[in-house]
Symmetry: C3
Subunit: 201 residues, 3 copies
């Protein structure tokens, strides 16, 4: 069953992580139930949707199968019902969001490669897949896009993407994927812990 | 003549309704003539454009035929020239906008079905078609997106979409379409009249 | 070599002009190095990306060849390193931006024609290609979109596009393209010099 492939599972985990992160941003802004579900959706599918549109992989992935939308809806409902529990777990949420970032970056790169796109551009595509769900969420909530005030957000994707291509020379694809996901996730956690910043110009 | 089909006519009416609604939002913001025309266009075609892109129905519909762009341009010019008359008819405008919402929701669902997409996702697609012209208009005018402060906007589309699928079991498609359009439109008018709100979380 | 065609060269020049203009907008907002590069990219490729998506020319142009992304990256780095020199040349920058506007408008029209789209809609497509890189840049930087406060920005594209189609009746395509680019560029420079405004409504 293709559905149970490795890439499918990591994509689903990333989707759930981003749906939770979107739902919490929306609840902080005091949106109603519908608004929270919409923002959870947009955060979870925004990056992958832009990726699919740019490479011409249409209809976009989330429209071809009822599984991802169902998972997002269920995740958003759980996030709303158990928001007090989640609220006391800010580090868990941050971990989930970082995991989603790593997962989406690597699936984005993989889909770029499948479409015959140059590796350097695949890194950009992976970064877009990882970051633009959050960017659309921030535009809709009228926040400064995450891309520009958490500097190590996108940089972590780029480094992870480069690591992935280097690893492909020495190990198998699933191993390279796993390591690259850990690299993105770890870079972001370390950047937050030690307050890394890129130089201003 | 395919052009005179039922769906084509309701789509054209919705386009005109949304062009008027866009033109008035832009005039309230004191944009110049060009800005008013652009916002009228974006409001009228935004939702359908996003729908076409998501399902891969490209080039997007409004580019394939000069009729829709001509109608939008003419509608925007009429809205500018007779703005005083329209201004004294806020209820008429609201009725038009609600009609546009219903019309676009149902055509969006229909195009999703034609593309072989799951009914539940078609409801989301119809809602996107109905709402995202207004969302892009609000982003460009730097307003809080309509989706989040008029709660019954998108909810009306979702209910209308579900009604449409239920009706398809008992009546013909044109009848189901007409009833569903009336449902979306009526729900929105009733919600505004009685100030319905979804619960905050 | 197709790469050295006339259209390719003018598209590359426009890309560089817009990358510089994007980098400077981002540096004014005190973004970090990464943010400046992202905004340079988005400004340079945004209009062409929306054009490609609307007409279904996918994967989008900048993903099919490493040349354009490399040129944008190099241009952004040069803009960052030599920002003091550029800063003392505001008129040069404005000239570049106007040149980019003209170049992109005409390539947008040409690609619309190649896709079999009606000339009047091609003018809209060219205007979108010319203007929407700047619109996305402004949305991400939370500015009022350029489209609405520099009124002669898009109007110059529309006039240039109409001139292009009229010229095609009397001269060859490359001549018509060159003249139309000069018209867009000159209109914008004259509008800025003499403070032309469209009437408010």
């Amino acid at each position: 069953m293709a559905h149970l492939s490795y890439v499918f599972i990591i994509e689903l985990l990333g989707t759930m992580a981003f749906a939770v992160s979107g739902a919490f941003s929306a609840m902080e802004k005091k949106l109603d139930v519908f608004g929270v579900v919409v923002i959870a959706f947009v955060t979870a599918i925004g990056g992958g949707t832009i990726r699919d549109v740019l490479i011409g992989n249409l209809p976009v992935t989330w429209m071809r199968d009822i599984i991802a939308p169902s998972v997002i809806l269920a995740t958003a409902v759980v996030a709303i019902l158990y928001r007090n529990i989640f609220h006391n777990l800010p580090k868990t949420l941050f971990l989930f969001d970082s995991l989603g970032l790593g997962l989406f970056t690597i699936t984005g790169i993989q889909k770029g490669l499948d479409a015959g796109i140059h590796p350097a551009i695949c890194v950009a595509l992976g970064t877009i897949t990882g970051c633009f769900g959050g960017v659309i969420r921030d535009l809709l909530l009228r926040e400064i896009p995450v891309l520009f005030h958490k500097e190590f957000y996108a940089s972590a994707c780029i480094v992870g993407g480069v690591v992935y291509f280097l690893l492909l020379y020495v190990v198998s694809a699933p191993v390279a994927q796993t390591v690259a996901i850990v690299v993105v996730c770890a870079l972001r956690l370390l950047a937050a812990r030690f307050n890394w910043r890129l130089p201003a110009v």
